[in-house]
Amino acid sequence: MNVIVIGLSHHSSPVELRERFAFAESKIPDALKSLRESGVADEAVILSTCNRVEIYAATALEPAQAFLELKEFLKTVHAFENPLGEEIYTLAEPQSLQHLFKVACGLDSMVLGETEILGQLKDAYKLAHQHKHTGARLNKIFQRAFNVAKHIRTETNIQRGSVSVASVAVELAEKIFSSLAEREVLVIGAGETSEKVARALLSRGAKSIIVANRSHERAQVLAKEFGGRAVQFDDWAAEFEKIDIAISSTSAPHHILDRAKLDPLMKLRKNRPLLLIDIAVPRDIATEVNFLENVYLYDIDDLQSIADDYLKQRKEEIVRCEKIIAEKVEALFKSSGFQPQISTDGQRLKPVQANL
C-alpha cells in the first residue's frame, strides 16, 4: 500500500484554477465515499483550503495509475474539461509523507510557518476519520504529522514574527490608516480566517467589528465575542458608509462586490480609504474595484509576495525544519511496518509524475 498525494496549491496554480477545484466542506464526505467506491483509494483524506486542494490516499494501485485516476476524479467532480499540466502535482512515498509533514508544519504555506493550516489539516483528517474513510495507514501518518508539527513549533523559530494572513492584513491596515483606534471593521462571512483577521485588528486597537453572515445566529455569536454587532447578511452594503476595513470570506460562488456596486458606496464615504481583504475562494470581490480611488483590495494571492520575503528571511530555519522532517520520515519507516517503495534496482522510487 502506497500513500500518495495529488493536488494543487498556491505554488503550482493561480487562485482562478484553485477555486475551480475547491471542495465545499459539506461535499467532502460524499467525494471521499465515491473515491473509495471507485477503487482508486482504500483510505483517503481531502484537504481543501483557500491555498490548496489535496487528496491524500492510501492505494494498492501503482502510483502512476493511481495518479491518472485521481486526476480524472478531480476533473469529473468539478466538471473541468480543459487540459491540466504542471498545475497539478503528484507525489509518492517517501516524498508524499515529507510533503504532508511540511504542510502540517506550515512549511508549504503561503505565509511560512503559519499555524492555521495545521488546524485545517486536523479538521480534514477528523472529517475523513468520522466518516470512516481513514484506516491504519493514514491514521498513523496523520498522527505523526501532527506530532512533527508540534515538535517543529517548539524546537525551531519558524513561527517567529508576523507570518499569518491575519498579521499581514494588520500590517497592510497600518500602512493605510494613521491609527487603527478609530477604525470600524466589517466581517462578511464568519469563516475561521476572517475571524482571526478581525481578532488581530481588534488586538491592535480597531474600534469595533460588525459581522454579517448568512447564518445570522452565527453572526450574533461572533459579534458578541468581539463586542461588536451583527447585521443581516443582505444588509452588509449599508454598513459601507461607516466602515474602514472589510474582510470577506463567504462561500458565494460569484462576486458579492463589484465596481458598479462599490462606486456609489465610495461617494457616500466621501472617499475615505477602504481596505478590502478578500480571503474567499472563489473570490468575493471583483478585482476591478481596485481601480477605484481610495480602495485597496488584496486577495489571497496578493499575500504571496509578502510571504516570499518572509521565506527569504527564514531560510536558515527552513533548512533546519526540513532536516528534522527528513529524520522523522526516516524514523517512521524504521519504526513501523512502513516500507519506502523500492524499485527493482534497489533504489527508492523518485516522486512519480504521472503523464497528466
Partner: protein, 274 residues
C-alpha cells in the same frame, strides 16, 4: 579668485542637489527600504558648498545674509538640508533625502533667478518693515506649499505601491497614507493662511507707494489666482470629500506650476521691479 563669488558656490551646491535629485529617482524605483549613503554624501557635499556660499555672503555683508528673496530662499533651503543631514544620521530615516533633494533642487534653481538678488546698497535698508513682512509671509506660504508637495509625493509613492501590491509598501519606512494626507491638508491650510495674511498687506503697501488701494499688476493678479486655486482645492476637499490621488496630484502640480512661473511674473511686475 574674486570672480568666484558666493553665488558660484551656491550654483555648485545646486548642481549637487540636481545630482542627488536624479539619483533619488533610482532610489524611488528600489523602494526606500535601505538607507542610502550615496545620496546622503551628495547632499553633504551640497551642504558644504551651500554653507560656504552663505558664509561668504554673510562676511561680505558683515551681518546675517537674509535681506532679499534670493538670500531668504537660500537660507530656508540651507535649514532644510541641515535638518535632513542631522535626521539622516539615523539610517532608518535616511530615505527622506530622496524627497528632500527634489525640493532643494527646485528651491536652488528658483533662488538663482538673477532678479531675486539685486545688488545691495552699502547697508541693507530695513526702513519699511511692512514690505519685509509681506515678502516673508508670501515666501513662507510658498515653503508650506512646497512641503505639502513633498508629502503629496510620498503619498503618491506609497499609494501606488499599495495599489499595485508592491512588497515595498509594507517594508518602506514611509508613514501611513492617511497621515500623509492629513499632513498635505495641514500644510496647504498653513500655506493659504500665510498667503492670505501676506496678500492682505498689499493694499496698504500700494496706498503708501501709489496712493491707491488696488492696482492691476501681473504678480498681484497671479498671487490672487494662486490663492484662489489653493482655496478651491481645500474647499473641494472639505466640502466634497475630494481626497487621495487627485488631491495629491493637484498639490504637486500646483507647486511645480508656482516654481516654474513665479519668477516670470515677478520679472513682469512693475510694482515689484519699477
Amino acid at each position: 579668485m574674486t570672480w568666484f563669488t558666493d553665488r558660484h558656490f551656491f550654483l555648485l551646491a545646486v548642481i549637487f542637489y540636481g545630482l542627488s535629485s536624479a539619483y533619488s529617482v533610482f532610489l524611488w524605483r528600489k523602494g526606500f527600504r535601505k538607507d542610502d549613503r550615496v545620496n546622503y554624501f551628495l547632499l553633504l557635499a551640497a551642504f558644504a558648498l551651500h554653507t560656504t556660499a552663505i558664509f561668504l555672503r554673510g562676511f561680505n555683508l558683515k551681518q546675517c545674509p537674509v535681506n532679499n528673496l534670493y538670500e531668504a530662499t537660500v537660507f530656508i533651503a540651507w535649514t532644510i538640508v541641515a535638518a535632513y543631514l542631522v535626521i539622516g544620521i539615523s539610517h532608518r530615516l535616511r530615505f527622506l533625502g530622496a524627497f528632500a533633494s527634489h525640493v532643494l533642487f527646485f528651491m536652488g534653481v528658483f533662488a538663482l533667478m538673477p532678479q531675486l538678488d539685486p545688488p545691495h546698497a552699502a547697508q541693507p535698508d530695513f526702513s519699511n518693515g511692512l514690505i519685509s513682512l509681506h515678502a516673508t509671509l508670501i515666501l513662507l506660504s510658498i515653503g508650506a506649499f512646497g512641503l505639502s508637495a513633498v508629502a503629496a509625493l510620498m503619498f503618491l509613492t506609497e499609494e501606488h505601491d499599495l495599489k499595485f501590491h508592491k512588497l515595498r509598501a509594507i517594508f518602506s519606512l514611509l508613514p501611513p497614507i492617511q497621515r500623509l494626507e492629513r499632513v498635505m491638508n495641514g500644510l496647504l491650510l498653513c500655506g493659504i493662511v500665510l498667503l492670505t495674511t501676506g496678500l492682505a498687506f498689499s493694499p496698504w503697501l500700494l496706498k503708501q507707494k501709489y496712493g491707491v488701494w488696488f492696482k492691476n499688476d501681473p504678480l498681484l493678479d497671479y498671487s490672487i489666482f494662486i490663492w484662489a486655486f489653493y482655496l478651491a482645492l481645500l474647499i473641494a476637499r472639505w466640502k466634497f470629500g475630494q481626497g487621495g490621488r487627485r488631491f495629491a496630484w493637484s498639490t504637486v502640480g500646483s507647486f511645480v506650476f508656482i516654481m516654474l512661473t513665479f519668477w516670470g511674473f515677478l520679472l513682469l511686475s512693475p510694482i515689484h521691479h519699477p
